[in-house]
């Protein structure tokens, strides 16, 4: 059974589609996480494949479902943080030989297929539906929700895993070459790092609205604080360090106005969720969290990099799709939990949503107030990538756990957790899921 990328028809990427036809009929129940590590130590038991299996088994156990009842598997096949196995480096045969292999020796090491997982999880005897949601967990969640809603699968695992190898990421390949192809050269010749586009948007945002980089400090400290209360996260597990204003403001620039902490830290980690029908979820071990809708933006910039105008227009449009599909309003959101890696675009998500009535240009002022989990206006209770490392899924896990009432020390206390939305990555082009404590 070879998975294919899910068809574009499974994504809700247009306005005017109305309320999602499966609103409240699909639920997330189980959550499973692997440990985290900064980089792979090349042991078989810490490979991206091994940690994916661990996360999947934990999600199954968490939901209290017999593994043979799982009949769907939606995964993200790309696992790189930006690191690729070097062509001239010998293959890690000890790790490869520790598992049942596919035709690709790097399967389970620097990429992941459904075939590899099913060969190494013999307990999954009932899987009849597999699909790829490329790039991020956010994509895979949309695909899994739609697949369960359409009846393609009843009990579906959703997985995203990341590998990170030795060395600095994005420093090899074309970036190390003396000459590059003409298409790549259109951008690559100028040497802009990954955060450059977001830095540009933030610079324009500050000029337009009279804001400063220092105004990000409360958001950064809040995110790290929340991350340190996320026991599954990297900073919590390995570097329990608070991030104060001075730490943030004195950090070295990467692409000014984006500094070191505005970039998330690449890590190894895997997470899995178990989705099922609302009916089936009633009998599972955890409280169901119902999916009210999902939405996607596939907007592309006109030219080299998105302008502020393009970003602001698209986040507002995306939010209209989110609210329309879920049949909710901005005022229904219990807290805000959108993507943050890079930090300097988080305000675009918040302003697009109109969270707590915030309008364009107001989010950084909002950060100066109480945005804690104890207050009435929680911002990023997950702590996001800034609080727990690059995964692009902390906000999804957090929404599920908050609405189940089992977010532990991170549990919001200033609001009743009822409805939330999470997703990303970029303001221009992202995938979003709306979660609810009740099906209606």
């Amino acid at each position: 059974m070879a998975a294919k990328n899910a068809p574009t028809s499974m994504y809700r990427n247009e306005e005017g589609l109305g309320v999602w036809e499966h609103r409240g009929k699909v639920a997330a129940v189980g959550v499973g996480h692997s440990p985290t590590a900064r980089r792979w130590d090349e042991r078989p038991e810490t490979s991206v494949g091994a940690w994916s299996i661990l996360a999947l088994r934990r999600a199954i156990e968490d939901a209290g479902v017999p593994p043979e009842e799982v009949d769907g598997l939606v995964i993200v096949p790309v696992t790189t943080t930006g690191a690729f196995w070097p062509d001239d480096k010998p293959l890690p045969m000890d790790a490869i030989n520790a598992f049942n292999q596919t035709d690709d020796p790097l399967d389970g090491i620097a990429k992941l297929s459904d075939e590899w997982l099913l060969k190494n999880m013999p307990e999954l005897t009932g899987v009849k539906y597999t699909a790829y949601g490329p790039v991020c967990m956010s994509n895979a969640l949309n695909v899994a929700a739609q697949a369960v809603g359409e009846g393609l699968t009843n009990t579906c695992l959703v997985l995203k895993a990341w590998h990170n190898l030795e060395g600095r990421y994005y420093q090899g390949g074309k970036n190390a070459a003396n000459a590059i192809d003409g298409t790549s050269a259109m951008k690559n010749l100028w040497g802009a790092p990954a955060c450059y586009g977001t830095a540009l948007q933030f610079a324009e945002y500050c000029r337009k609205y009279g804001k400063t980089h220092e105004m990000m400090s409360p958001f950064m400290s809040n995110s790290r604080r929340n991350g340190l209360m996320f026991p599954e996260g990297y900073w919590s597990q390995h570097r329990p360090e608070v991030l104060n204003s001075e730490d943030y403001e004195l950090a070295r620039w990467i692409a000014k106005p984006a500094n070191l902490f505005d970039n998330d830290i690449p890590i190894m980690v895997a997470a899995a969720y178990l989705f099922t029908t609302a009916e089936r979820a009633k009998d599972m071990r955890q409280k169901p969290v119902y999916i009210l809708s999902h939405a996607s933006s596939e907007t592309k910039p006109r030219s080299m990099t998105p302008t502020l105008d393009e970003v602001e227009a698209d986040t507002v449009r995306t939010s209209r799709m989110i609210y329309e599909g879920a049949g909710i309003k901005a005022s229904d959101l219990s807290f805000e939990n959108m993507y943050d890696g890079f930090t300097l675009f988080h305000q675009f998500h918040i302003e697009g949503l109109g969270y707590r009535g915030i309008k364009p240009g107001e989010a950084l002022d909002f950060y100066q107030g109480d945005i804690s989990i104890e207050g009435p206006n929680p911002v990023s209770p997950s702590g996001g990538n800034i609080g727990s490392g690059r995964s692009r899924f902390w906000m999804h896990t957090d929404c599920i756990q908050q609405l189940q009432g089992r977010a532990g020390a991170r549990q919001v206390t200033g609001v009743k957790p009822e409805i939330a939305v999470s997703g990303g990555p970029m303001p221009l082009g992202g995938n979003y899921t709306v979660w609810s404590a009740t099906p209606d």
Binding site: I180, P193, L200, W253, K256, T307
Partner: protein
């Protein structure tokens, strides 16, 4: 700055060949009467490749925005850090952007909104590439 060499490919060869003649050309869709950059195999609006051609532009524009790169992933540029990477919008169509190191402008002293004109710089393998200088 020591830019990487360029090996023109099928899609971009006309752009780089024009640059070697010190001309700036931009891909255009005739039926849509629309410039697009970077070049694509088909028009971003009508999705057809049949009306695509290359049009010479004036080489004049303004600085729309910029960042200052302190941690560059491209090896050949790392000795020049920190450096500007500005975004130039063309006079013919402000929706069309090009990157520039802004030769002659100190790092982080970029006059956003200033007028610029194209110049051509030689890369590591002799290919000329468009760069932009502030004119006022």
């Amino acid at each position: 700055m020591a830019k990487q060499g360029v090996v023109p490919d099928e899609l971009t060869a006309p752009f780089w060949e024009a640059a070697n003649r010190s001309q700036l050309v931009i891909q255009k869709c005739g039926p849509c009467d629309r410039l697009q950059h970077p070049p694509e195999p088909s028009c971003g609006v009508c999705e057809s490749d049949r009306g695509l051609f290359w049009e010479e532009v004036s080489g004049k524009g303004i600085i729309y925005n910029y960042g200052v790169v302190h941690d560059c992933p491209v090896r050949l540029l790392q000795d020049d850090q920190p450096f500007n990477v500005a975004v130039v919008m063309l006079d013919e169509d402000p929706g069309i952007q090009m990157y520039s190191h802004l030769p002659g402008t100190a790092a982080d002293e970029v006059p956003v909104g200033a007028k610029v004109r194209v110049v051509f710089e030689k890369t590591d393998n002799g290919q000329l590439v468009p760069e932009w200088e502030v004119t006022c």
